[in-house]
Amino acid sequence: MTDTLMVDADQVYKNFGANQVLKGISLEVKRGEVLCLVGPSGSGKSTFLRCINHLESVDAGRLRVDGVLVGYRERGDKLHELKPSEAALQRRQIGMVFQRFNLFPHMTAIENVIEAPIRVNKASRAHAVARARELLDRVGLADKGGSYPAHLSGGQQQRVAIARALAMDPKLMLFDEPTSALDPELVGEVLDVMKALAQDGMTMIVVTHEMGFAREVADSLVFMDGGVVIESGNPREVLANPQHERTKAFLSKVL
């Protein structure tokens, strides 16, 4: 059973000082599944994603990716914090795509994509470049390898960012509002790339306000508010027939 689970969050808590941001999040993502995480701003969606690849550490509860505890090692009944190098090792297998792209502006598109494979995975340059070309082609940017991010549109930048994350051959991809910073006419090209990725069997957690994408692509939808999961289930059912008042209120605003 557990070996089909890619992400297994069990009562995850996270505080920033006195501010309780996550108050017992439990959810599961099966291998090859797409989960859409929705909820009002400030509900802790980004924080939860950041916990999954240990950009933030969890304060209580258990968070497992592919059966392995994130950020800690369990020895006896005690948890030991991982060394930074060990945490870095775990992160290689988790790709992350940010709202503001966060491409490296001093590197061309292809340099952005080959950076981590060369530095982290110690891939040969020739091999990394060949793979990067493949990936840029896959996101529809085969001819933009030599461009600096500043010369690319937002949609193109975000597709480079997706290629950059894929270059590490992740088994899980996290998307934090990947289209929220885009002009409306550029949203489609990014969602298309994500859709193709989902169809190829990538396990994905997507924080988004694109309910159309959730309905069409996601296997499950989780609605979060105030650091707790309010409602979850099949996206078509939740969207068509929300059970909880807060879900209804939120959906009426975004739909």
Binding site: N53, L55, P84, S85, A88, L89, R91, R92, I94, G95, M96, F98, R100, F101, N102, L103, F104, P105, H106, M107, T108, E115, A116, R119, V120, D143, K144, G145, G146, S147, Y148, P149, A150, H151, L152, S153, G154, Q156, Q157, A161, R164, A165, M168, A181, D183
Partner: protein
């Protein structure tokens, strides 16, 4: 010129799409600036008069200037000054980087050490610091290397281990590092946090993130004030006489002038050399700035910082747009 065809109310015909319709080209009489021109003329006349006067003024002893400007002793002293500048700057950069990183680290011990260093070295005059370095062999007659409270591995008389040139370099470098550390810290802080986050999420370690991602981007902020510091250092080397080291450009010129009784001419000689070296350093700074503006500072479509001509057609209104315009502004200020 005639590009706003669509904005005009419809008249008999549609303007050609490329804007080369029938709109008349404006042939206006150019605005004149009589006062501006007058002031310019007056300033030029005064400047010319001053220069002519300076060139012919006996007291400036141009004949002595001509005799000494390429004097072997002077050019050697200029080379010494350049060496003092370059060596102390190189050491200062390394030390400053270390201090800046320590100051930014979460480790309170590192933080305090860095803060204390800055407090001492920015809080006392460099002339006094150089004097102290000159007195090193008085304060510490021998230098020992080893672990505290154990027998030293090596012990050397201070005077043998370090000559006055090296002491001058150390003195200048340690003082400069304190200032550079703040410049570097500001540069590192100027890089968007998202950059570090993206690199970390890709599995890069902290040092990889610093060297490959954060520091190259901070260079754009670091280089212009560092250029200032280099030029300032070139002139601060004239204080090494406090060590006392006396083969730098200024001290050497002063010593020669004491023999020849022509101080003015020799100070002009020294000034000419300082100006020449400064000019060379400014050229170096220009190329360094260009190098680190890759991808950001030079996003003007007409300049083409890309290998791909197609990319130039795309309007790159990304989150970095503001950075680009800021970079451009900076360039125009210089």
């Amino acid at each position: 010129m005639a590009s706003s065809g669509q904005l005009r109310p419809a008249s008999g015909h549609t303007p050609a799409p490329d804007g080369t319709g029938s709109a008349p080209v404006i042939k206006a009489v150019r605005l004149r600036h009589p006062w501006r021109n007058l002031i310019a003329v007056v300033l030029v006349v005064y400047a010319a008069a001053f220069l002519w006067d300076a060139a012919t003024r006996k007291q400036l002893e141009w004949d002595v200037f001509a005799k000494y400007v390429f004097d072997r002793r002077i050019s050697e002293a200029a080379f010494n000054t350049l060496q003092l500048t370059v060596y102390s700057m190189l050491i200062a950069v390394v030390l400053a980087l270390l201090l800046a990183v320590m100051r930014l680290s979460p480790n309170p011990v590192f933080k305090s050490i860095s803060w204390f260093y800055l407090w001492i070295f920015r809080g006392t005059p460099v002339y006094v610091q150089l004097t102290f370095w000159g007195l090193l062999s008085v304060i510490y007659p021998t230098l020992s290397f080893g672990l505290p409270f154990t027998a030293p591995l090596v012990t050397l008389p201070t005077g043998d281990a370090l000559n006055v040139f090296q002491l001058a370099v150390i003195g200048l470098a340690l003082n400069e590092a304190a200032y550079l550390a703040e410049i570097i810290r500001a540069g590192i802080l100027s890089v968007d946090r998202g950059q570090e986050e993206a690199a970390t999420a890709l599995g890069m370690t902290w040092s990889q993130t610093m060297w490959r991602i954060v520091i190259p981007q901070s260079m754009r902020i670091i280089i212009p004030p560092t250029g200032n510091e280099v030029i300032s250092m070139l002139k601060t080397t004239s204080l090494v006489t406090a060590v006392p080291y006396s083969f730098d450009l200024f001290t050497r010129s002063r010593d020669i002038s004491a023999e020849t009784f022509s101080p003015i001419a020799l100070f002009l000689v020294a000034s000419a050399w300082y100006l020449a070296i400064t000019s060379i350093l400014m050229v170096g700074q220009y190329f360094l700035e260009k190098r680190f503006a890759r991808g950001i500072g030079d996003a003007r479509p007409d300049k083409g910082a890309t290998a791909d001509p197609d990319a130039l057609l795309v309007d790159g209104r990304g989150p970095l747009g503001f950075l680009r315009s800021r970079g451009r502004q900076k360039r125009e200020e210089l």
